[in-house]
């Protein structure tokens, strides 16, 4: 099974859903419409493509692009054919609710909680969407780019030269 084969199979099944495709460092990367992401992953899991192992879910924040501000990245794997696939779905900050994958993969539970904890991305239908690594009373989602690493109230340190 090759990347071209997978791309063609997905394009055939969901001609409308794939917005963009590329192959950075050999891994097929597809940008999928946010509404269709669960449909696509479900198909990938049950069809003969057999992407039945969810490696990872994580979020990325692009504050400069308001239309595509938040991104959820899914890494899937077909263990038999030994091929990996990366799916991305972008959303705006206001409308950041994805469908949960917990009914497809039991392991998605904590991965989605972590994504929610770090980026505030909600997952519709998640059985227990609470923050996981940070303290529950933190009150914000610290991986968003507007939160600086250092305490924002500090004035004694000027970090213009180092770091972002």
């Amino acid at each position: 099974m090759t990347n071209e084969f997978v791309l063609e199979a997905i394009n055939r099944e969901f001609p409308e859903s794939v917005l963009h495709h590329s192959e950075p460092y050999g891994m097929l990367t597809l940008e999928i419409k946010k509404e269709d992401i669960k449909k696509v992953i479900h198909h990938l899991k049950i069809s003969s493509l057999e992407f039945s192992f969810l490696t990872d879910i994580c979020g990325v924040h692009h504050p400069e692009n308001k239309e595509k501000e938040l991104c959820v990245v899914y890494h899937l794997q077909n263990m038999k054919e030994n091929i990996r696939l990366r799916l991305k779905a972008f959303t705006t900050r206001e409308n950041s609710e994805f469908e949960t994958l917990t009914d497809l993969f039991a392991g998605a539970n904590w991965m989605e909680r972590e994504t929610f904890d770090f980026y505030g991305i909600k997952f519709k239908g998640h059985p227990d969407l609470r923050v996981i690594l940070n303290s529950p009373d933190l009150g914000y989602h610290p991986m968003l780019k507007e939160y600086r690493l250092e305490d924002g109230t500090r004035t004694d340190k000027d970090d213009k030269m180092f770091g972002r």
Binding site: D56, V73, R86, F162
Partner: protein, 407 residues
């Protein structure tokens, strides 16, 4: 193990019916001598049976992913050793290989082999601790104290490479900071000579020990299907019978040069996890022997002056070296834009690095796929209906490392 009476109680509990007798809540952790780290488990118990359990993680969350968005690539190595601190060199090299993949750097064969030797030593150290502690929690403390002497030898070898013992910060992007020293050669030759004897003593102590077998067989078992659904990797997945190993599936660092097998179990219980690790130590030893015997001649680092710090003497005498030294230390080297996922077989599963680079001095986004964060969520399912003592050995044999869990 789950008899009818018990499944009735669990069904009643799940239907929120009144259960005869009294249920009580027990806090196992956050700090408990048997959990070996900070794990909070709130157990709902009926007698000594666990009906329900809830885990809270994040007690030692140190925001590595956020910190790494401000550090340059070389400085992130020190964050990675604080994840799975039982096998820190694997994390270090995994990160270095991710950066090398991003910048398109080919390392010399000698570096690959040196890395393989160090990674397999780390794996032996990791499995030794995990299995020693599993045996200890089942009541056999002798094995662990034996193994600590051997772990000391492994740490002495780390010292020869990088000067540190536990949080190693070993290697550099592109290779190693120095070659194997004569003392290291002496240590590893002694290790290869003496370790098999010590390890077979540990094997005979536990593997067919009736008490140990009774304690661990059928304790905390999980099917292959559920394990895959939960995202298990590493020895825990192999104990259920799935022969997935990143070293074989996606060979990195010349692992395809070596001859070794992937041990697998059948039932995914504590005993199988223990036995898979026992066998993996023998396989790791085989790999080290092959790599050490065939250690190629050559340079111990790649020729990438933009990333690899020059010799200190050159910095004082050569302009080029001074420029690169300054640029590296100030984090001014240019990296390509792009995104890369690189996975290595860590001590307890597939350790993945998802790196998004925007060409800046630090990663735009770095996500660690931490194996035990992902498989620890199966723990409540694995101990449901079990005794407390089963829950303890199950947790040990899963090899959940608090530092990696909370990142």
């Amino acid at each position: 193990m789950k008899d009818n009476a018990l499944s009735n109680i669990i069904n009643q509990y799940e239907a929120e019916e009144q259960i005869d007798g009294q249920l009580y809540t027990l806090n196992l952790g956050p700090t408990h001598p048997a959990t070996h780290g900070i794990f909070e488990n709130v157990l709902t118990m009926d007698g000594e049976r666990i009906l329900h359990s809830e885990q809270t993680v994040g007690y030692i969350h140190r925001a590595f992913e956020k910190i790494s968005e401000r550090r340059n690539f070389a400085q992130i190595t020190t964050l990675t050793d604080r994840m799975n601190y039982c096998s820190a060199p694997i994390n270090n090299f995994g990160w270095h290989m991710t950066v090398e993949k991003l910048i398109g750097c080919e390392v010399p064969k000698r570096v690959d082999y040196m890395r393989v030797i160090m990674m397999e030593l780390a794996r032996i150290g990791d499995h030794m601790i995990c299995n020693g502690v599993t045996a200890m929690d089942a009541g056999a403390i002798t094995g662990l104290t034996w193994l600590f002497r051997e772990r000391e030898t492994i740490y002495e070898m780390y010292e020869q490479i990088c000067g540190a013992r536990m949080t190693t910060n070993m290697g550099r992007i592109g290779g190693f900071e120095r070659d194997f020293s004569p003392k290291f050669h002496e240590l590893i030759q002694n290790f290869l000579k003496n370790f098999p004897k010590i390890w077979s003593q540990f094997c005979t102590l536990n593997e067919r020990n009736r008490i140990f077998m009774d304690r661990t067989i059928n304790a905390g078992s999980i099917s292959a299907e559920r394990a895959l659904s939960y995202g298990f990797t590493g020895p825990n997945l192999r104990a259920t019978g799935v022969d997935y190993d990143v070293r074989v599936a996606n060979p990195y660092s010349s692992y395809n040069d070596f001859d070794f097998i992937i041990p697998i179990g059948t039932s995914g219980d504590t005993y199988d996890r223990f036995m898979v690790r026992q066998q993996e130590v023998w396989e790791s030893l085989k790999i080290i022997e092959q790599a050490y015997k065939n250690l190629p001649e050559g340079d111990f680092h790649a020729d990438i002056p933009k990333f690899y710090l020059p010799e200190k003497a050159d910095v004082y005498n050569k302009m080029e070296a001074l420029i690169y030294h300054f640029k590296i230390v100030m984090g001014e080297t240019e990296v390509p834009k792009g995104e890369v996922y690189h996975a290595v077989e860590g001590g307890n599963g597939e350790l993945g690095f998802y790196l998004v680079s925007d060409g800046g001095r630090s990663p735009y986004r770095l996500h660690f796929r931490r194996p035990c964060f992902i498989y620890y969520q199966a723990y409540p399912e694995m101990i449901k209906g079990a005794m407390i003592s089963d829950a303890i050995v199950t947790m040990c044999s899963m090899n959940v490392i608090a530092g990696e869990l909370d990142a």
